[in-house]
Amino acid sequence: MKCHEFMSAAELLTTSQLLLMQMEDPVMSVHARECPACAQWVGSQRSLSSALQTLHMDTLERQASPAVENTLLQAFREYDFHPSVPAAPEHAAPAAWKLSRVFELAAYAAVAAAVIVGAFLGLRVLNDRNLSPTQVQAGKSTPVPVSEGRTVVAKSSVETPRPENSNLAGYSASSRNSAVRLKHAQSVTEPSEKIVDTNGFVSLMLCDPLICSGDEQIIRMELPGTNASGPVLADVVVGEDGLVRAMRIVN
């Protein structure tokens, strides 16, 4: 064993282990006997350990005075082990809290109003769904006031116009868009279910009450005739979405 190996091994030992080294580790014991420097170092370590042990024994009986214990016990008795958070008195509430109470009440009122409105609208939708289209049409059938003119002539609260069987095949190219829309409406509407109301309007589309609800306008249009018979006047029921609901031929 070299001296540096001896020192490295000694570093890993505790003081008590170092004192017992010669008995427990024969290799280190042999080196410590053969190397005077290491033997002297071990001797110094033993002396140091012995001196530290003496110091330890000299101070072993030292302890804190009874005054410290009395002070600590006094503190222990006064210590609150279960601190309770006292409720703040009402007058102690800061102004911001009082102001927020107003906002809180306003928020409750707004939520209540929203619930009432939502319930009302929901009931209305349910009622509309429960009614059949025919019932809706029959229930809302009103005379349509029609005035002469090429533009908007009347405003009706009729949600679904009264249909009428009529010949719509004579529309010219100038009214192609209307014709396309009419054909589309007719394709949606079952031919066998074509409805004609007492005012002579022919329904051009099967309206869902939810979609076709709202105001409608009756527009009198002058359509070019197919022969030399002159233009044809027609009343067209147009919904708020711009779609033609129904129409009738005036002449």
């Binding site: 070299k2 001296c3 020192m7 570093e11 890993l12 505790t14 003081t15 190397c35 420097a37 290491c38 002297q40 170092w41 001797g43 110094s44 370590q45 002396s47 140091l48 350990s49 012995s50 001196a51 530290l52 042990q53 003496t54 110091l55 330890h56 000299d58 101070t59 072993l60 030292r62 302890q63 804190a64 005075s65 005054a67 410290v68 214990e69 002070t71 600590l72 016990l73 503190a75 222990f76 008795r77 210590y79 082990f81 279960h82």
Partner: protein, 200 residues
């Protein structure tokens, strides 16, 4: 019986307001804490203040103690170490003196002379002076391992460092102590060796 219970059990009971448990825990642990502070500072007054502060801290913050991280004894030494450091810094700021052994080493300001009051043998007095003249991180490993007889593991927990760090610091501290004691007249006869010359 409270004396049969562990430190951790006593602490739990003390924190529920059991005065007997607190008293039993204090009487069991105040001696080591006091002596640690005494050995570290060399002042009986600081040692008493630190002991009181450590147990007040335990009363107020004992719920923070986690038994899975180590023993309560090592935890108390860790708390005491911080209080000793504060007290020593405060005392040093009030007055600074130098060690008679080595002028460059900072020495604690104490109202308590261990040479005169406690240490009975000349060697013991010289050793304590040498210990007090060590830098703090060497002094605390000597105090904990050699004077408080803690294991390396408990010392590492109290100091919050690795086991190997404790071991190397202790080895280094012993060499420093021997060098200091070689210059100390009362212990010169016993500490005349010089390990640094061993180069074979």
């Amino acid at each position: 019986m409270l004396t049969d219970q562990t430190d951790e059990q006593l602490l739990v009971q003390a924190l529920t307001g059991n005065e007997d448990a607190f008293t039993a825990l204090y009487r069991r642990r105040q001696g080591p804490v006091y002596r640690f502070a005494l050995h570290m500072s060399g002042s009986a007054q600081i040692a008493e203040e630190v002991t009181q502060d450590v147990f007040l801290f335990l009363l107020q913050r004992g719920r923070d103690f986690d038994p899975t991280r180590g023993a309560l004894g090592a935890y108390l030494f860790g708390v005491a170490r911080n209080y000793v450091r504060r007290a020593v810094e405060k005392s040093i700021s009030e007055a600074m003196t130098t060690s008679p052994a080595e002028e460059d080493d900072p020495v604690l300001v104490t109202d308590f002379d261990p040479v005169r009051d406690i240490a009975r043998s000349q060697t013991s007095k010289a050793v304590w002076k040498a210990v007090l003249s060590l830098p703090e991180h060497y002094r605390e490993v000597v105090v904990l391992c050699d004077l408080q007889e803690l294991t390396y593991a408990d010392t590492a927990q109290a100091l919050g460092c690795a086991l190997g760090t404790v071991r190397s610091r202790l080895h280094r501290a012993h060499e420093m102590l021997m060098r200091k004691l070689q210059h100390s007249a009362p212990a010169r006869a016993e500490f005349s060796g010089d390990a640094a010359r061993c180069l074979s």
